[in-house]
């Protein structure tokens, strides 16, 4: 199977969708001549021309507004917002417009647009270029929110997002662009709203998405050495959430830890934890644990940044704690 970088997998998805459907076009800052701040759209201008690969002024609200407007009248735009931190400049468009139009106008108008952006730490980009803001979008009915962790998912989920008739916030991770993995050569689409069990296990379910999936898999491999069997679930789509897959796994393991790079308070971990607890309270052998970034802005100093975001030690400790509760009960 061919090995492909996450960014190249995204480009392949854009390329194939643009080839297949003339209503698909891309707009955003530095996406054309420059090829994209993270090189996702590199080469597409040469292939599709400036009408469909459109460099925009630095006008985030208008970029998203224009994507919504074009989607309302027949286009299938893919807008790129360079950093999720800049999505703050688009929030009226995302929250009051894109998410509401279909419902508010009685189902008359669809808004099939994708807003691609990237988030996360790892590059010492500082407080205004490193956040993970998925909770803000999940908190808004009417949006779909996607956060792929592998090149294959980046490809399959972006294609599905472009084909979807709803506004999709597509959250890439700046630390994943150069990650390489297998992507099948045959074109495929990965359904939105379906989580993936990336590793099976029996003692505890570790739930994550985006770049912290790497951490989750690392920890699972380490703990295997100690005979602790960790099942790892990749949510992939954050709205709608595939709780069926999560609950099926936790029913089996009876313990769960949720891991993400966004700050703890009001994070997706709280939602997933609450839903597991509501559904499986009496089956759980220990409280659901969360591992997330500290409730702090992100420093630009890489050493300090590492101190804020979750690490393997914290995940291992959380897992050990869920197991310890069981041992206490057993005693």
């Amino acid at each position: 199977m061919p090995i492909m970088m996450y960014r190249d997998a995204l480009r392949r998805a854009l390329y194939e969708e643009m080839k297949a459907d003339p209503s698909v076009f891309v707009l955003g800052e530095d996406i054309g001549l420059y090829g994209g701040a993270y090189a996702v759209t590199k080469g597409l201008l040469e292939e599709f021309g400036p009408d469909r690969i459109r460099d925009t002024p630095m006008s985030e609200a208008a970029i998203v507004g224009a994507a919504i407007g074009a989607a309302m009248v027949g286009g299938r735009p893919v807008a790129e917002i360079m950093y999720v931190d800049f999505m703050t400049l688009t929030m009226d468009q995302v929250v009051n417009q894109a998410a509401k139009i279909h419902f508010m106008f009685g189902g008359q108008i669809k808004v099939p647009c994708v807003i691609r952006t990237q988030q996360g730490t790892g590059r010492g980009a500082g407080a205004q270029h490193s956040q993970s803001l998925e909770s803000w979008f999940i908190h808004t009915p009417g949006l779909k929110v996607v956060a792929p962790s592998t090149p294959a998912d980046a490809y399959g989920l972006l294609r599905a997002s472009i084909q979807d008739d709803n506004p999709v916030i597509f959250l890439e991770h700046k630390g994943l662009y150069a990650v390489k993995d297998e992507v099948p050569e045959e074109p495929f689409v990965t359904s939105l709203g379906v989580a993936d069990v990336r590793r099976t296990g029996s003692d505890v379910t570790l739930i994550s998405y985006s770049r912290t999936m790497q951490l989750a898999l690392e920890v699972a491999a380490q703990l295997e050495q100690r005979d602790i069997s960790v099942e790892v679930v990749d949510l992939r789509t954050l709205q709608p959430l595939d709780m069926e897959t999560v609950l099926r796994s936790v029913e089996k393991t009876r313990r769960a830890v949720v891991l993400h790079e966004a700050v703890m308070t009001g994070g997706l971990g709280a939602e997933v934890s609450a839903r597991i607890t509501e559904a499986l309270f009496h089956q759980l052998l220990s409280p659901v644990r969360r591992v997330a970034a500290a409730d702090a802005p992100l420093p630009a100093n890489v050493a300090l940044e590492k101190y804020v975001v979750p690490n393997a030690e914290q995940v291992i400790r959380a897992i050990e704690e869920t197991l310890a509760v069981k041992q206490q009960i057993a005693r």
């Binding site: 209503s23 076009f25 707009l27 009408d51 469909r52 459109r54 925009t56 002024p57 006008s59 609200a61 208008a62 970029i63 998203v64 507004g65 224009a66 994507a67 919504i68 407007g69 074009a70 989607a71 309302m72 009248v73 027949g74 286009g75 735009p77 009226d92 468009q93 009051n96 417009q97 139009i101 279909h102 419902f103 508010m104 106008f105 009685g106 189902g107 008359q108 108008i109 669809k110 808004v111 099939p112 009915p141 009417g142 779909k144 008739d165 709803n166």
Partner: protein, 317 residues
């Protein structure tokens, strides 16, 4: 002077005026399903003049004070009234209300409750027209209050830069809720404002439907030819308060009296004379409009209420 156009403009303005009066009347009777309702009484010439210059394939985006745009574009009164009454036969299935009345089949892309929120949407509709060559022009109505929103600047620049087929029509009713135009805006000339975007700007008497029609026609033709947007400042006046809750204490009775004397309906009759618009014409329109509104209210009253369970429909397409 085009007699048919003149008559039709007058009839449209009258239809908007009487509809909004009727809406207020029904509101007082407690018939409306929502407390949110902003009428455009006094501003009818802007909607009528502009929409008369549009072609069937064109789009428009509208505001929280959007009844006039909707009616002038040919929106139906029955389903509009049903929407206001919270009925499932309403244009938005009884869940949009006054601020969000929309009919995509007439190219109406929605009345928007966020001041300036639809400026980017209008640019996007124009962008798709340019890419798909669908020969449509998008008319973007907004109030002078929205000229001070950030997205307005972003969107007008984007449309001007790419020469998108968009026409910006600022309904300058001189009050952003309570804030007077003079107290909110440093540059009050739309000719000067437009220069900053490298596009033509027009200041037009928004109480003169024929003058608005002329300005809009020129701008729409220009947009359709691929020459880009125009910024039209139509100077009008909001005869009533921002909403029913507003007693308009921030402006003087003298000012209100002076401005209400510039009623677009009266101005047109005076301007064209009774040769073109006779008393019997006006009487006939009044009778016709009354009948339409009675029928619309009856349709709304007879329609079933929107059911609570429908709030889970149409969240996703």
């Amino acid at each position: 002077m085009n007699r048919e156009l003149t008559k039709s403009l007058y009839r449209t303005m009258l239809l908007i005026r009487r509809t909004e009066e009727r809406i207020l009347e029904e509101m007082m009777k407690g018939k409306l399903a929502s407390t949110m309702c902003h009428v455009s009484i006094g501003q009818e010439a802007v909607a009528a003049g502009t929409c008369s210059a549009m072609q069937p394939q064109d789009y428009l985006t509208s505001t929280h004070r959007g009844h006039g745009h909707f009616i002038a574009r040919g929106g139906g009164l029955d389903r509009m009234m049903a929407e206001l009454f919270g009925k499932e036969t309403g244009y938005c299935k009884g869940r949009g209300g006054s601020m969000h009345i929309t009919d995509i089949s007439i190219g109406h892309l929605g009345a928007n409750g966020i001041v300036g929120g639809h400026l980017g949407i209008a640019a996007g509709a124009g962008l798709w027209s340019q890419i798909s060559k669908n020969n449509a022009v998008t008319v973007c109505f907004f109030g002078e209050g929205a000229t001070n929103e950030g997205i307005t600047h972003e969107s007008v620049n984007m449309s001007a830069l790419w020469k998108l087929p968009v026409v910006y029509v600022v309904e300058n009713n001189h009050y952003a809720m309570s804030l007077a135009w003079e107290r909110s805006t440093a540059q009050q000339s739309f000719i000067e404002k437009a220069k900053a975007y490298g596009i033509p700007g027009v200041d037009v008497d928004g109480q003169d439907a024929l003058a608005v029609y002329e300005a809009a026609s020129e701008a729409i033709d220009r947009a359709r030819k691929g020459e880009g947007p125009t910024l039209i400042g139509a100077h009008t006046y909001r005869f009533l308060g921002h909403s029913r809750a507003d007693p308009s204490k921030y402006r003087s009775p003298e000012e209100e009296e002076r401005e209400r004397a510039r009623d677009p309906l009266t101005i047109m009759r005076t301007k064209v004379g009774s040769d073109v618009l006779s008393d019997s014409d006006v009487e006939a329109y009044e009778a016709e409009v009354k009948q339409m509104l009675d029928a619309a209210v009856k349709f709304a009253e007879d329609s079933p209420l929107a059911q609570p369970s429908t709030v889970f429909e149409d969240i996703y397409a």
